[in-house]
């Protein structure tokens, strides 16, 4: 039943498991073997301390809420609670032990740094920490609670209280009409720095003349570099196009009345052609497989509704776009499980890590329904190469799960590396296509997010049928579709646009990276997207999420630039940031660099 290639790979995996005996001993330990010592000791400590220190998390969160050990990594605590638990208290408690652990262990850094990193780095601090706990436990005064219980005990008392309050509301004694549980989690104030930053820019946006001290937006992946091209096209071509009013072929009744919710056929054809063009004409897209939605956000949500039930999970290579947590989890109840990628691999996805995460998730009772990749990756900006894509497909095939490939930045690639769409792989394989689904949109590559155009391109007839029906909740205005049909059908313009836009992104990227380098700040090598992935781990202190957020705060409030911290993207290593550069123009780069410099200088490098 399984294709030969899969079998072959299975063998290979078998070997790879065999070569990593450490894995059985401790799940993440193999990573230490391959990576530079210092950082990973810290990581190691992070990963192990919660499982020791908080022996109670499963109690405090209730059985169904008990986060699996992997989710207790500091990146995840926040997100897990965001949707699942309206009460903020447990978040603190799961983090506190982590912090205590950090404070204890950081002084050991020097001891551990030398040889035998693995054993010393993980065992000694763990043992010391354990002994400390033990010591504390024994030496607390008997009448008070045992100390190991204190964080969780606080929560045990908190949790019923908050739920009983909700019940009171429901009974109506206060007369307040209450909202649904899912709404309550959404109505809470934004606590992700990603959204906080965006809000701050909205309040105090930089303007060269009107507000030179305002905040510069580097946190939104929006492309302003090529808007002039679109403007030119509009002014040249739309003057005579009266939207079909009067004698034109379609007429107002052709757009004002009810139209197919999944998009006008003309628009699907134009969109399929545009996708073919953007992906380098290596694949051709079939218009009948195109489902149009009002932006990639609903496209992704609709797909999630189709592929997974509430409580099921998708694996997502992390760092990932912070919006996924909102777009996918909010209303569908689908969980996202990060597959951690690391700086030593240039943040590329490793199939081994994917397998481990899958197996761990399975062990914890998660039903994994698919893998969600973004290619070019957001926030890192690297591309998945052909081999990895084949491996991914094999992996999905073996586990019988779906692949969602978010290729919304496919036309915004600029490096020398070749972009390979998942559709190309599927076309070449010519079998078992129905587990592959592609997300696309015009917000990034054509820089018109305001027009709200997203695409689901699926090889699965049933997914297509269901998503077409679901588009009634998020369809595109036919007026907008009509204008875009004429724009996308202008082949010469489109080719010219894609070419110029790529050049401009590349120029901007080069300038930006060079500017950072002058400040002694490095980025990952990127080939696509509207941002670079910046390593500021040297500048943070302490070396953890808190240090990262402190730096983010400095960048925002002292440097007056809004960037996205890696923790918002579930990056497992602290100190990485996403800087979007396509919202700037060239002469703003020196301004930005000056501001970054100010912050860099205020941070004493810790080493």
């Amino acid at each position: 039943m399984k294709p030969i290639s899969a079998k072959h790979r299975k063998d290979r995996k078998g070997i790879s498991v065999f070569t990593q005996p450490g894995k059985r001993f401790q799940t993440e330990s193999h990573l230490c073997l391959a990576s530079p010592a210092k950082q990973n000791h810290h990581l190691k400590l992070h990963e192990t301390t919660p499982s020791l220190a908080t022996s109670k998390p499963s109690v405090l969160c209730g059985q169904s809420l008990s986060p699996p050990p992997g989710r207790l990594l500091r990146r995840d605590t926040q997100a897990t609670h965001m949707t699942r638990n309206p009460s903020p208290e447990p978040k603190e408690s799961t983090r506190n032990p982590t912090r205590t652990g950090m404070r204890l262990i950081v002084p050991l850094q020097g001891v551990v740094q030398g040889r035998g990193g693995l054993i010393l780095g993980s065992l000694i601090p763990c043992a010391l920490f354990y002994f400390l706990q033990f010591y504390l436990k024994r030496h607390r005064s008997p009448p008070s609670n045992p100390p190991s219980q204190s964080p969780s005990a606080a929560n045990l008392s908190e949790l019923p209280r908050s739920s009983s309050r909700a019940n009171l509301l429901a009974r109506g004694s206060t007369g307040r009409a209450n909202l649904s549980a899912r709404a309550t989690s959404i109505a809470k104030p934004n606590d992700s720095p990603y959204y906080i930053g965006l809000d701050r820019v909205r309040e105090d946006p930089y303007d060269e003349i009107d507000n030179p001290d305002g905040i510069i937006q580097l946190g939104l992946s929006e492309n302003r570099l090529s808007l002039d091209l679109i403007e030119d096209w509009v002014s040249q071509n739309l003057t005579d196009l009266k939207l079909g009013v009067g004698s034109q072929a379609l007429g107002l009744s052709g757009i004002a009345t009810y139209q197919p919710m999944d998009g006008l056929m003309e628009f699907k054809v134009a969109m399929a052609d545009f996708m073919t063009e953007v992906m380098g004409r290596t694949v051709s897209f079939d218009p009948s497989r195109v489902v149009l939605t009002s932006g990639a956000t609903p496209a992704l949500e609709i797909l999630s509704f189709c592929l997974a039930d509430q409580g099921n999970a998708f694996l997502v290579p992390a760092p990932y776009y912070p919006g996924f947590d909102r777009d996918i989890r909010w209303r569908t109840g689908v969980e996202l499980i990060p597959v951690h990628c690391r700086s030593c691999d240039n943040f590329t996805l490793s199939i081994t890590a994917l397998e481990q995460t899958f197996n761990q998730a399975k062990k914890r009772g998660h039903k994994v329904r698919g893998i969600l990749i973004s290619n070019p990756s957001n926030p890192v900006g690297n591309l998945l190469n052909r081999d990895t894509l084949y491996d991914l497909l094999d992996f999905a095939r073996e586990r019988n799960i779906h692949i969602i490939s978010d290729e919304i930045f496919a036309g915004s690639t600029y490096g020398n590396e070749e972009f390979v769409s998942m559709s190309e792989i599927v076309d070449a394989e010519d079998a078992d296509k129905d587990r592959v689904h592609i997300i696309y949109g015009l917000s990034k590559d054509l820089s018109i997010p305001g027009f709200r155009v997203g695409v689901i391109y699926s090889y699965n007839e049933n997914v297509l049928a269901a998503s077409r029906k679901l588009t009634r909740f998020s369809s595109v205005s036919s007026l907008t579709q009509q204008i875009l049909v004429s724009m996308l059908s202008d082949k010469r313009f489109i080719q010219e646009y894609i070419k110029t836009n790529r050049q401009r992104i590349r120029t901007m990227c080069d300038l930006f990276v060079a500017g950072l380098r002058e400040l002694g700040v490095e980025c990952t090598k990127s080939s696509g997207g509207l941002y670079c992935w910046v390593d500021m781990s040297r500048l943070i202190s302490p070396y953890n999420e808190k240090g990262e957020l402190d730096l983010w705060d400095k960048l925002l409030n002292i440097g007056k630039i809004n960037v996205t911290p890696g923790s918002a993207c579930h990056c497992i290593e602290p100190g990485w940031f996403r800087f979007c550069f396509t919202t700037l123009n060239e002469k703003e780069i020196p301004v930005v660099m000056e501001r970054i410099q100010k912050v860099v200088e205020s941070c004493k490098p810790s080493v």
């Binding site: 009409a177 709404a183 196009l241 009266k242």
Partner: protein, 431 residues
């Protein structure tokens, strides 16, 4: 509940394979029959006439005239300065100007409390997501718009508990009916989170009286549940003083307990622009507004469409005359169809709003059952070649009622339809 449709090797979710979309009901089956054989005056004079689609085409000429005169606003041509903002504009608040203008000045609306969505369908779904959890229920008076079964239930997992209304009091919503529906839900251990009404009612084509509205609001307050008032046909009330918005009731009560009230509106019906996909939520509850605004990322509408509509709707002179003329035309249409049906010996519920009438064919049923009603519906579709919507698809508890739309066609086509009905009734009599 889920039908196992020919499952592919890799499985899909329950949402994808369930039949909650309800598109197998006669309401949608009739559309398919129409799509296969659509009536055309010249090319297909014996085709099916679509009377199952509540679309307003009686005032297109007014819109076309307006756009002809203001094509600049439509395309941003000439001055492209606005284009840049347009292309990037993703303001979740939507363009506040869109609203308010179309609602006469009787009740005040605060632009801050408006959330724009891609159509009223999305607005209703969004509110359901916000107000109820999976397994909870909304009370909906019957007969109700067949699409609610899909829009309110499909992805949200929320149930609909029907509030049964009947012809004995012209399908008015009584406190007793509300109470018994609520009790029924409670006895089934289903938590009721709100009540959703359409005012003017779809499919009845009638507005809800002030006292009835007050009763409903009192009921919602007593039970501490939400009240969603879907008022997408409010501008299609034939006479402006016959329609009372829930907003007016709140105003007379000084907005006491207003936080449980949410209004849905759209431009699809009153302005006849369903293709533009513009719906709105107006809520008196700040938390609902905040949540809806965040959730509207799933259902935003093109800024360029918003801009065109904002400039159109802020043209007071145009909107004023549009609404007036549109009302007048709808009333004329209504009188035409009531008159024509009357001559054929068919009576309808007395209506005063909307794009349809509620037709009583119960006398033609051999026995008052749903099966008989569907038989008659099939006869109308395949023999008389009219696609009308059977009451059972609207969950009407009395068989023999049908919703007949009259605004999605020309007057000439309507006359053809009436002639067909007339001939059909003559044949029945001769039988």
């Amino acid at each position: 509940m889920a039908i196992q449709i020919d499952q592919p090797s890799v499985s899909l979710s329950r949402v994808a394979v369930s039949d909650t979309h309800g598109e197998d009901s006669p309401y949608f089956a009739g559309w398919k029959a129409y799509d296969e054989n659509p009536y055309h005056e010249l090319t297909n004079p014996s085709g099916v006439i679509q009377m199952g689609l509540a679309e307003n085409q009686v005032s297109f000429d007014l819109l076309e005239q307006y756009l002809e005169k203001h094509s600049d606003g439509a395309t941003n041509s000439g001055r492209t300065s606005g284009f840049r903002e347009n292309a990037l504009f993703q303001d979740y608040h939507g363009n506040g100007k869109l609203y308010g203008t179309n609602k006469r000045g009787r009740a005040k609306f605060n632009p801050e409390s408006i959330v724009i969505t891609a159509g009223a369908t999305a607005a209703n779904e969004l509110l359901t997501f916000i107000l109820a959890d999976p397994g909870d229920a909304l009370l909906v008076p019957t007969p109700y718009y067949p699409g609610f079964d899909r829009d309110l239930r499909w992805r949200t997992g929320v149930n609909i508990v029907p509030v049964h209304c009947d012809s004995s009091n012209n399908f008015e919503i009584t406190p007793q009916a509300l109470e018994s529906a609520y009790n029924e839900a409670e006895s089934n251990n289903i938590r009721v989170r709100g009540i959703l009404i359409t005012n003017p009612s779809n499919p009845l084509g009638a507005t809800i009286r002030r006292t009835i509205l007050e009763n409903i609001l009192d009921f919602a307050t007593r039970k501490n549940i939400h009240l969603v008032s879907d008022e997408i046909y409010s501008g299609s009330a034939f006479s402006s003083d016959e329609f009372v918005s829930i907003a007016e009731i709140l105003e007379t009560r000084n907005y006491k307990d207003s936080e449980r009230v949410h209004i849905v509106y759209s431009l699809s019906k009153d302005l006849g622009l369903p293709g533009f996909r513009v719906g709105t939520i107006y809520s008196y509850n700040d938390r609902v507004v905040t949540t809806a605004r965040r959730m509207s990322s799933f259902t935003l509408i093109s800024s360029q469409t918003q801009q065109l509509l904002a400039s159109m709707l802020s043209d007071k002179q145009f909107t004023g005359s549009y609404i007036r003329t549109n009302r007048e035309r709808l009333r004329k249409r209504y009188e035409l169809i009531i008159d024509g049906l009357g001559k054929a010996g068919i009576r309808c519920l007395k209506g005063n709003a909307g794009l349809f009438c509620w037709m009583d064919l119960s006398t033609l049923l051999e026995e008052p059952t749903k099966e008989q009603e569907l038989c008659l519906w099939k006869l109308m579709l395949h023999e008389v070649k009219l696609n009308i919507s059977p009451g059972s698809s609207c969950h009407c508890s009395e068989p023999g009622w049908f919703r007949v739309c009259f605004a999605n066609m020309s007057e000439k086509t309507l006359e053809v339809a009436l002639r067909r009905i007339h001939d059909f009734m003559e044949r029945r009599k001769a039988h």
